[in-house]
């Protein structure tokens, strides 16, 4: 193992802490510094749109690790410190305020920023009551405004927007979701799954307006309404822009690393620049299973890429990425997704959406390539193994609830995914 003297990790999320933990687990004994622009110790993001907003968790309980973790693993925390530029020749990262930190290896786990609608939406004026959700501060600001009886418009019918909408309903707000595409989670889940999800929200009293563009905000200094492209007005007390994220790639760019929709890395987190690594939401990592680079915004990918980059920084082999895995919870329903859906896949349904418990499998050439599971985590986990094994299965067996999914795991496994 090559032992660098100092490793600097930039970022305050899961990819960053997973890398720190793995570095120590793998025996790295050198200096380890974690630099985060946020003032809180690294925290978990999934609760921000759910348990934090609902009050089931407070800010402290979102911490990824107790303080002892950083002490025991000798991770020096530089919190509330923004890294501004990377100089690979001098092997140093510049920090806001004029300091700089030398390194032997640098990991960028910089995540991303919430994508925002342009200021022209409010006629170029600042307008209060319009939120985004990416950071703990964002979540706390939003939570402070989510009081029962208020009217909230959520712009964007992706997972984040739908989770905020569900939490808002549970808190007693009137909620409308506006989605520009014709269906919720357009292109990410099968239309049958989107239909079930829409029904779940409508039954809970959430208004869903799909195929609707947003033309602007009215009011001032506080928002009074969201104006739609068709001229309709949605009066509201607050609004949440949940229209995706932009990967934070400026530091990687300053270091001269290749960027292609994200910081381009191998499966071991290596960027195009020696001694520079990247992981998490900002990284577009090579996935041998799919033989292409994927930028996955998921908890699992962040953790795994952090661990892989840690090993890569020590010159150790990185394990192959797991089958992509994602979860969400909305209105008390658990959703799990695995694999990557592709257009043209044959869809096989197990269970029925009407029963509230079902799995939609995507198959290509008789091989399970993706799944969407509603309230069926056990089936989703076995289905994930089916995706991993890439052995052909019979669609009628998948669809038959009397056939145990586990029994389909038998038979020879094949390597690689047929595309």
């Amino acid at each position: 193992m090559s032992m660098p003297g100092r490793i600097v990790v930039v970022g305050g999320g899961l990819a960053a802490t997973a890398a720190c933990a793995e570095l120590r687990r793998a025996g790295y004994a050198g200096e380890l510094v974690l630099v985060s622009a946020e003032k809180e110790p690294p925290y978990d993001r999934p609760p921000l749109s759910k348990q934090l907003l609902s009050g089931e968790m407070d800010a402290a309980s979102c911490a990824l690790h107790p303080e002892a973790f950083y002490r025991d693993n000798a991770v020096a925390l530089e919190l509330g410190v923004r890294a501004t530029a990377v100089d690979m020749r001098a092997r140093q990262v510049d920090l806001a305020g004029g300091r700089s930190l030398g390194f032997d290896r640098l990991l960028l786990a910089t995540g991303g920023r919430a994508r925002r609608l342009p200021p022209s939406m409010a006629g170029g004026r600042a307008i209060d009551g319009v939120h985004a959700l990416r950071t703990l501060d964002d979540a706390l600001a939003l939570k402070g405004e989510m009081t029962a009886g208020r009217r909230m418009v959520v712009i964007g019918g992706g997972f984040l927007g739908l989770e905020v909408a569900a939490t808002g309903r549970a808190l007693g707000l009137d909620v409308v979701v506006v989605e520009a595409a014709g269906a919720l989670l357009h292109g990410r889940i099968d239309p049958a799954a989107a239909g079930w999800l829409s029904g779940l929200h409508r039954d809970a009293g959430v208004g869903i307006l799909a195929g609707q563009g947003v033309a602007g905000y009215e009011g001032g200094p506080r928002i009074g309404a969201v104006r739609l492209a068709d001229g309709r007005r949605l009066p509201c007390d607050l609004c949440v822009e949940a229209i995706g994220m932009e990967p934070e790639t400026a530091l990687a760019r300053s270091a001269g690393a290749a960027i292609d929709g994200g910081i381009v890395t191998g499966a071991d987190g290596k960027t195009s620049v020696p001694e520079l690594f990247a992981a998490g939401d900002a990284a577009s990592a090579f996935d041998p299973r799919y033989r292409r680079h994927l930028r996955l915004e998921s908890w699992q990918a962040a953790r795994q890429q952090g661990q892989a980059a840690a090993r890569g920084m020590l010159g150790l082999a990185a394990p192959a990425p797991e089958v992509p895995w994602f979860w969400s919870s909305q209105h008390g329903a658990m959703v799990h997704m695995a694999g990557l859906p592709q257009p043209g896949d044959m869809m096989v349904q197990r269970g029925s959406p009407e029963s509230g418990r079902f799995v939609l499998f995507g198959l290509r050439n008789g091989i399970v390539t993706s799944l969407f599971a509603a309230n069926a985590m056990a089936d989703a986990r076995i289905g994930k193994d089916l995706i991993d094994r890439t052995s052909p299965v019979r669609g009628d067996a998948l669809a038959d609830p009397s056939v145990r999914l586990r029994s389909l795991l038998q038979g020879p496994a094949r390597a690689g995914i047929a595309s």
């Binding site: 968790m57 895995w325 658990m334 985590m377 056990a378 986990r381």
Partner: protein
């Protein structure tokens, strides 16, 4: 000792654990082989019901972060979980499952 009848034995299978609320606690009853085991149902990491998760032999995997617990002992098996879950006394009498929250589960 305060054994309470909480369900019929045929309401729990290896693939279908049972979730219930008993004396204000969320309790899970799992079937591992021929054995029935009662444990806390809430993951020790973040709030999620383990009965919404994945039973894999004598382990259960949380539906959120896939942290694993040993159902027989309550032990946290790594992943993201470090604190064990509590286990409780659990036995079958006739067709009934009885649980006693005042005593821990029998050691494996």
């Amino acid at each position: 000792m305060s054994w309470k009848t909480i369900a019929r034995a045929d309401e729990v299978s290896e693939d279908e654990p049972l979730a219930l609320r008993l004396e204000g606690r969320e309790i899970a009853v799992f079937k591992v082989g021929d054995r029935l085991c009662a444990t806390d149902n809430v993951c020790t990491h973040q709030h999620a019901l383990l009965t919404d998760g994945f039973v894999d032999g004598e382990h259960v995997e949380c539906p959120l972060h896939q942290g694993r617990f040993n159902i027989l002992t309550g032990e946290a098996m790594g992943g993201f979980v470090t604190c064990p879950i509590r286990t409780y006394g659990c036995r079958v009498e006739g067709d009934d499952i009885l649980v006693d929250l005042t005593q821990p589960g029998a050691p494996a």
